[in-house]
Symmetry: C2
Subunit: 194 residues, 2 copies
């Protein structure tokens, strides 16, 4: 449903029917097959994308080839390389579909026009970024203060849906540990409970 995004927006701001229609008219629908890239590191990312269906990951690849997952996104999340989207600089991250996806995309000119025509959207995005800010601060803190085991349990509690849908080595790349070590952790956890 295209209305997943509209519902999301209406949780934060109130819009007239025309404003809603105008907003929807700025969006471009896009589908991605599993393994397709939405954003390629090194090239500018023109769009910010809202996930209607599917699952993606934003990754950073070190010069030595090691990959780290900065963010997952499933239905109801925005994803993209925010910095590149806003500044026009080449993207730092890759964004890749982990399943077949359906997205709604907004390009930067449309967004700025939207802000002019319906200033309420400044508020919507302020609120979205505020939430993300709080959330990221918690994630930083988790990285500082918790062991890999605690972080894994927290992740499993907070995102059971993602845990179910993505391979385990992606979870490891999100938590900042090796797949081997995550496997060991899970082993220990399951024997400890029984």
């Amino acid at each position: 449903m295209a209305s997943l995004l509209l519902d999301h927006v209406l949780q934060y701001i109130t819009l007239t029917t025309e404003e809603q229609a105008y907003f929807m008219s700025l969006l471009k629908r896009r589908t991605l097959k599993k393994r397709q890239f939405l954003v390629q590191a090194g090239e500018p990312s023109k769009y910010d994308s809202f996930v209607i269906r599917g699952c993606l990951r934003a990754t950073y690849t070190r010069p030595d080839g090691q990959e780290y997952i900065v963010q997952f996104a499933i239905e109801g999340w925005w994803i993209g390389d925010v910095d590149s989207f806003l500044t026009g600089e080449p993207a730092t991250y890759n964004v890749e579909a982990l399943e077949d996806c359906e997205l709604l995309q907004l390009d930067y000119p449309s967004l700025e026009e939207l802000f002019k025509v319906v200033p309420q959207f400044e508020r919507y995005f302020r609120l979205i970024f505020q939430r993300s800010f709080v959330h990221l601060q918690r994630r930083v803190l988790a990285g500082l203060s918790q062991t890999a085991e605690e972080r894994y349990l927290e992740f499993a509690r907070q995102y059971p849906e993602i845990l179910r849908r993505v391979p385990q080595y992606h979870v490891a790349a999100y938590l900042g540990i090796t797949p081997e070590f995550l496997s060991q952790l899970r082993q220990r956890l399951s024997t400890r409970k029984s």
Copy 2:
């Protein structure tokens, strides 16, 4: 100077003289002595604060007493427990002055009024949170992909001013390592260069 904040705002949005005056009229000046708390974990944080002079840290204290630094703030930075400020929930973090400080504070009702009277401020804070978002994503990534040594060098490069002004064990608490280990790192780094 009170105008440090105004300059900051005017980098992002344009305001008439009256709007500027109105904005300034909503702010409360506050001074803190070194070691005084701006926010106490457990109690609601009513204000968001902009640093005119001084240096502060936002910390999370684990049940076992271990402290971690979520954010430093010096002149030109906003600081507070954003979540508590917005939701009215008890704060998670402590915010403490590391030097004598001079702040400009905005309470939640004033902020909402400001948004009504000068909607441009939605944009200002959206931009501020966007920047913070990009910045925090980088910090998360650093935690995932870099060793303590790399993170320390990066911190020293990015925030030489803070490095100069705060005791070393605070830097350790920001990087998520022990003061002993940071000392060892610095030892190694200095002998390696010479």
